[in-house]
Symmetry: C2
């Protein structure tokens, strides 16, 4: 069992506590265990008289957790990730949750800790070093204002480059941009729900980790054999063995546009005849230098890219991922891959979530199209759909809240509210939805509506069965039986994020494979059902906490556009999310979940052994 590092930035103290095996058996690690800790903090706040609804995302009462799990840093395939959780997101007002690859997760474990719990807030900028178990809190005044690349370089130059990793915020996080993310290893992002702004509010610039400690594995030889077996399965799988390695996640651009479900111009459509201009294939042909895998990853979907010349040149960058290409490109109507690469680079440099950034710009462009933004607010920025120059400029402006950037920094929900057209925010619970239009893929819509963190694809990635045919091919336009799939994917993903490994291995590996390998790591005797039960427990505790913030079925909704504006063209032309059918799916889902009005019943909580 590992250890938890708990740091209070208000008085700059810390303590180390062991992982509690009882909690680990119920919540595994990573997201699940972090959630349990958050819930204990929430109860403490309630006892102090601070109501959950009154928790200030930027207050010292917000707890921020960096979590690995039992599989992170082991040879479990794709064990190179970490999960970030916080009590409250500045973007959604709900739980904050994000996940990132690179090297930070495993290196945190090698440095001696499974998790870092950050409480309180510092008055002045600080950073933390954790080197082989040794913890230190340093002044970061000179780092404040530095971009992500500078921050990482300076800390590695100072504290050692070898097998070290830095998670940090850029200017966006410092400036409390609501869509700021936490970055690590240059171009890797714990992107969503504004976790970077939370870190910024605590004046915590960075965490540097390095160490030589090995993650404990109960049955090492058995584990090694199992890993070999599953790595072979992954290699033989067409997605994990071929598609993702060759084209990266951007392979999805042509696939999803090809079914008319790649949202276009702030979801006014979901198809563009020009999508190939910004596809993974084009990226691979024109801009790819090499691949860069996360730690211990056999897939290596990461792209190292370059735009040689022209107005959007950048001589070294990474990405962009599928979601980023869509949000910054097709969703803004900018079908210019060079501009997208540049905009994506700025998102990484300054620490901004690409999905929320692109979507917020797209919302602004529709506001401009409708004449709802006064000229003086724009300060000469020509935010028209398809305008590559304005896209790129809008990104760094957001990081620094300069000119119109100060409005973009609020995310699409608040932005569109300010200009009197909240229906133009393509978000759920304030979190901008990703690159799959539910009008063309019905199940993912139910997932967006019910995902605890808001409009999110990796809460329950039903695209896998609905489009890719994994583990079996469903009819993407049917509503039938989708509720069950959404629930299973949501539960399983909770387990994946608590393991903590990369969701991409699940294209090849199921809950049985997870149970098999995790049993060898932990020494417990886990079944596939146990894995799904753990996931369900986590999902219910998360939902229960959300209910304490006031979230309920009224928030399990989709933007009106999806229900009432049929897709105007492309392979899914004429499709909407039928309001009645959606309602039916949702009711079925609640029933499967054992929820009433979108909230777990006491019986359900008891059944899942969640002590509230």
């Amino acid at each position: 069992m590992g250890k938890i590092l708990e740091i209070d930035l208000s008085d700059r103290t810390y303590r180390v506590t062991p992982i509690d095996e009882n909690i680990a058996r119920k919540y595994l690690g990573g997201k699940g265990y972090a959630l349990w800790i958050l819930y204990q903090d929430l109860k403490k706040l309630e006892r102090k008289g601070i109501a959950p609804r009154d928790i200030d995302p930027f207050g010292p009462e917000n707890t921020l957790i960096f979590a690995t799990g039992p599989a992170t840093g082991t040879s479990f395939p794709n064990g190179g990730r970490y999960h970030v959780m916080a009590l409250k997101s500045p973007l959604t007002g709900g739980i904050a949750s994000a996940n990132s690859g690179g090297e930070f997760g495993p290196y945190l474990k090698f440095a001696g800790y499974d998790m870092i719990v950050i409480r309180g807030k510092s008055d002045t900028p600080v950073y933390i070093t954790i080197i082989d178990g040794e913890v230190a809190i340093h002044d970061a005044t000179d780092l404040w204002g530095k971009n992500v690349f500078d921050t990482i370089r300076i800390l590695k130059d100072k504290h050692g480059n070898h097998d070290a990793s830095v998670a940090c915020i850029g200017p966006a996080g410092e400036n409390l941009v609501h869509i700021a993310c936490i970055m690590n290893d240059e171009h890797r992002a714990a992107g969503r729900t504004g976790v970077g702004a939370i870190m910024g509010s605590k004046k915590l610039k960075a965490i540097y980790v390095r160490g030589t400690q090995k993650p404990p594995i109960a049955k090492l030889e058995e584990f090694k054999e199992k890993v070999s077996k599953y790595l072979k399965v992954m290699k033989e799988n067409s997605v994990t063995g071929e598609g993702l390695p060759k084209y990266g996640t951007a392979i999805l651009v042509n696939i999803i546009n090809g079914i008319g479900s790649l949202p276009y111009k702030n979801w006014q459509g979901a198809y563009s005849p020009e999508a190939d201009k910004i596809s993974g294939e084009t990226l691979e042909q024109k801009y790819l230098i090499k691949r860069r895998p996360c730690w211990g990853c056999p897939i290596a979907c990461g792209r190292v890219t370059k735009v040689e010349s022209g107005p959007y040149q950048i001589l070294y960058s990474e990405g962009p991922e599928y979601e980023s290409i869509w949000a910054l490109g097709q969703d803004t109507g900018v079908m210019n891959l060079e501009a997208i690469i540049k905009a994506n680079h700025y998102c990484d440099e300054f620490g901004i979530d690409t999905i929320s950034m692109g979507s917020t710009i797209a919302a602004a462009m529709e506001l401009v199209e409708k004449g709802l933004i006064p000229e003086e607010d724009l300060q000469g920025l020509d935010l028209r759909f398809g305008n590559a120059a304005a896209l790129v400029e809008a990104v760094w402006r957001t990081a620094y809240k300069s000119g119109f950037g100060k409005y973009l920094a609020l995310g699409s929900k608040r932005l569109t509210e300010i200009y009197g057209a909240p229906e133009l925010s393509m978000s759920v619970k304030g979190l901008e939805m990703p690159a799959y239009d539910p009008r063309g893929v019905k199940g993912i819509g139910l997932n967006y509506a019910t995902a605890n963190r808001g409009g999110c694809h990796v809460t329950g990635y039903t695209i896998s069965p609905e489009v890719l045919g994994i583990p079996e091919q469903l009819d993407r336009l049917s509503y039938e039986g989708k509720a069950k799939w959404v629930k299973i994917f949501q539960d399983f993903t909770c387990a994946v994020n608590s393991a903590v490994v990369c969701l991409f291995n699940t294209f090849a590996l199921g809950a049985d494979a997870y149970a098999d390998m995790l049993s060898s790591i932990t020494g417990w005797n886990l079944t596939a059902d146990d894995i799904l039960k753990i996931g369900e427990r986590i999902y219910n505790l998360e939902r229960y906490i959300m209910s304490k913030y006031g979230f309920s079925s009224k928030d399990d909704v989709l933007p009106k556009r999806l229900l009432h504006e049929p897709l105007p063209d492309g392979p899914s032309k004429g499709q909407v999310v039928d309001p009645e059918q959606f309602k039916k799916m949702l009711e079925e889902y609640y029933k499967l979940r054992g929820w009433v009005d979108g909230v777990p019943t006491p019986e359900k909580l008891k059944e899942l052994e969640i002590e509230v």
Copy 2:
């Protein structure tokens, strides 16, 4: 006689003192009177044991002054300016001095004060309002980080729009960028010697002024008649009546390139066959929307411009001026007026001196050309000569010190020192030289070398006789007799900046006209000789203070390139500043000045009634 507002930001107190007529008779107002105040402060610091050399430009001991003069805000032609002075420049280590148009100068006077003297420094951001004599110091926490346009708009919305003006810093000044300027009225800049960074170090974000008080005029009717007469003279003058109104200052691009003296690619040449692409004529034809005059100006050289589309689009901007076009364009090899307009816009938005910005980028480009900057420092920015995209990006990066911007923020002298090639900084005393190559115009070189604030054209604008033939045509390639012209122009300009009015009226008006109108304003009986004597006194006191900082003849030099690298092409091909001839000019100049080793003698100081 007017009043001086003295504010101590350390304890947030202020007091009002009257203008001392004895001092005013000796130093007029504006720059001269401010210099006298600075010298009193310097003596106080010496008595406290702080040596002039040890004054920290960012310390509370640096005094910052906003000064108008007797002619500012009157109908004296072009009375719409103010002068900024400070004890020490972060860029040069010498006296800081800068001058700006717009409306701030007159409105400060209408608000009740001739000058504002800022001492000490605040711990937290503040701004000052002066409304009809009433002074208040406000918290500016919410303004900190805001760009120039936002800052001005917010303060005018809050304190009144009508006949109000705001001088402020942008992010560059806040971030202590050494080439930051003070901005007013959106696009007007007190540009040089880093005065914006001084204001930033004091945490003074802005000064808002408004009022209805009238500048005193001793003989009003007489003054009115004289003004009518001299306005007619200006109207009939080809420069002030025609060239500047129609094409703005950018009319000089083709003129100076046409004599092969418009420095190209960090002064590796001084001619480009493409210069017309970035000329005032092209600006007028393609990008000009309208003219915007400063307060009370019959010339209206200010340009309101727009780049409709493309990567450098900006739907509303002002400028760029001749110097900015040169520095951001020809000097960087970017012969792209759209990119120059955009880069100039960013300089205004973030508060950066365009001359120093362009020149520092040009120096960086030559460092890159020579392979002296490691790739990792550039973070993918392709700083090649002629690269429009890199130029534009480099500007906002400088304001925020992001990526390579943190090096550019130091100015060209420190930048080139860092990379081991100080000879590539085209500066004098650390201040980047403007848009006239002394290899093709010999007298201006002597002015650059001897200008107290460093490489500056508006200290003694001998381009007027050497190129434009005003008041008489000199041979631009001759060294003969130039020392005398330099001295006269430097002295007269000190009087202009103490009046405080715009130097541009001097294309039409001489010291006699100044004496004539200033006599009516003050009620004194001033002659042209008096005006020049006042100017000489000011110049000598400034030089004397510089000597206390350690400046002497060793600093009255030009970059080696100008003396040893003949111009490679163009109408001045083969020309250098001949080292022997330069030395001779300098010696003649010192003799005319009564200086030994570049420093005024005690006899000279006594003769000028400067009490040291």
